[in-house]
């Protein structure tokens, strides 16, 4: 691997590590997140389950959830230079992955998904490289699309905006204007939480996942009885 390529690959990871570092070194707690199950997360929108490419180039479902599972989905791109955006999302997903590794009973029900919205640059090979650097300990998918055309309906469905940044002369700068969003999706494809990357919290994500899992579990017997 060339030195230039290595730098391109390591840049977002370094940024992600910085993001994780800043969060981990917060000096005081400003609030305690509400406990799981003490609040409601009604469906916000429904999303379809799209086919994308895994790091081997094989087609897989973005969600592919079994009953009793939820997915935490974040959209990123590896060239992102905004520390509060994609690197922060990757750092937070890493923290959630670490937390789930310590709680295997919960980890069986939670799938982490990182989807690139820059398929031209974030090829399956580059997503594989990202996965190797982040060393997932649990069920964490790294996905990309074959091309922009196949990605477009995914972004539209989730409401993830992406626009190429251009210079004064209209030339593309190689960066993307975006709000990095993350989503909590239940087994039915209903989005139960949407998060802005500037305010991501691993603890809130875990609590929300548990809240939805508990609500779905409670609803399941009633659904069966009503049939």
């Amino acid at each position: 691997m060339g030195r230039r390529m290595a730098r391109r690959l390591l840049a977002p990871l370094a940024a992600a590590l910085l993001g994780a570092f800043s969060v981990a070194h917060a000096d005081s707690a400003l609030f305690t997140p509400p406990a799981p199950g003490t609040y409601e997360l009604p469906p916000i929108q429904h999303v379809a389950d799209y086919e994308l490419l895994d790091p081997h180039g094989a087609r897989v479902r973005l969600l592919g959830l079994a009953p009793g599972q939820v997915a935490l989905v974040s959209f990123v791109y590896q060239r992102c230079t905004d520390g509060s955006a994609c690197p922060a999302a990757l750092a937070t997903w890493k923290r959630v992955d670490e937390a789930l590794a310590a709680r295997p009973a919960l980890a069986r029900h939670v799938r982490l998904v990182t989807v690139s919205f820059d398929p031209a640059n974030d090829t399956p090979e580059r997503m594989a490289e990202l996965a190797r650097h982040l060393r997932p300990r649990g069920d964490w998918r790294f996905l990309t699309a074959p091309n922009e055309a196949e990605l477009r309906p995914v972004l539209a469905d989730y409401g993830q905006d992406v626009l190429p940044l251009v210079g004064a002369g209209g030339e593309r700068l190689g960066l993307l204007q975006h709000l990095t969003k993350a989503f909590l999706v239940d087994e039915h494809g209903d989005v139960r939480g949407i998060y802005g990357s500037g305010f991501l919290s691993a603890q809130i994500l875990l609590n929300d996942a548990q809240t939805v899992l508990a609500a779905e579990s409670a609803a399941r017997p009633r659904t069966a009885a009503s049939r």
Binding site: R7, L10, A11, A14, A15, L17, L18, G19, S22, V23, A26, D27, S28, A29, L30, F31, T32, P33, P34, A35, T38, Y39, E40, P42, P43, I44, Q45, T81, D82, G83, S84, A85, P87, A88, G159, D161, L163, P164, L165, V166, L173, L175, Q177, H178, L179, K181, F183, I194, Y195, G196, S197, G198, F199, L200, S201, A202, Q203, I204, L206, N207
Partner: protein
Amino acid sequence: MWERLVLFALLFFCLAPPTLADEPCQSPYLPKVTGQEDFVYVFTLGVEGMGDGSDKLVTVGANPSRPDYGKVVSSVSVGGRHEVHHGGFTDDRRELWMGGLDDSAIFVFDVATDPAKPKLVKTITTFTKDSGGVVGPHTFYALPGRMLISGLSNAKDDGGKTALVEYSNQGKFVRTIWMPEAAPYGYDVRVSANLNRMVTSSFTGRANYMRKLPELMGDAEAMKRFGNTMVVWDYHARKPLQTFAVPGAPLEIRWALAPQHYYAFSSSALTSKLWGVFRKDDGTFEALEIAPIGDPLKGPLPVDISLSTDDHFLFVDSFMDGTARVFDVSQPRAPVLVLEQKIGSQLNMVSQSWDGKRLYFTSSLLSNWDKTGADDEQFLKAFNWDGKTLAPAFAIDFKAAKLGRPHQMNFGSVDFYRGRVAARPSPASPEDVPRVAEGG
């Protein structure tokens, strides 16, 4: 290795493109216009016999480098009069929602395709039915993928009992959260994501706000039916935590923006007081009356406030005397009045640019509360602020232009929708990353 990674990341941060942040009071989840705004979007009430008589979204040029500076660029009528009042952008800033207080219609404009000419793309007519009886959608506050809307009233009795309502960005109803029994009135809603706290204020129901003002003020019983409370909520759980007695209809809420400034301001319309809601060391809040606004005995009726991004200046508009007052709130518990300036015969909304250099004022409060005769001026006036004086920049007479009664304003930017600026939410430093107690 660690040092090399960190150094590399820092270099990348330094090479990051310039970003737009925010106009002061917008949702922390919304990308902001920090540079020169190109347009001011003005929600305007229709007046019978004036132009087409319909409520509309009026776009005014605000960039001195553009040929449309100080002129009406476009106008979109929504058809009919709905008492349009407030609204807000979706979190991607691509759509602007506008609510009608009378019939609870919600109008959704696409401002991304052509920011100079917003297009009405959707009308939600089922707000009251969807929400289980909420009337009068007031504040539209962007959350990720959703719009949080505070109601003013209810369909059962047109009184002040009301709720918060959420819709997805696609316009699908999500949920209704009724105000607590001890504080049933609603008005504004603002979130501090870093604190996981949300604050609401309280006004009055449709039976009052759609009534002629002189008639209403002569009805002692009706005048008792105004809100006297503010509520602090657990934002993530959407559950009320504390209710404060704030007499006289506390209206707009503005959170301080600077790191470690854990407080918000409001003003009470009927008692003409500035209030502060301060976080205490134990994490709970207290609401304190911190200053009079003009002479409360003369009833100036403060209506809108705007806080500069450095939390230094608070602009306060009062309707009756048509005056803007500027308070130095660098000591937030002891505001100091530094300027009083009459803007017009009546005055309502104030919006300032992110850099605090430009202020925009409009005249209309509510269709049945505006003054009459010669005092019924209807304008948008732009001023430049240098920290000491408000200097006129341009003005548009909305009556002469046959547009109607201008009320709330939002800013538009061409570059944002052309990929010429990066989008990011408010937090700009690790200070702004939410700090939460981990565990569980």
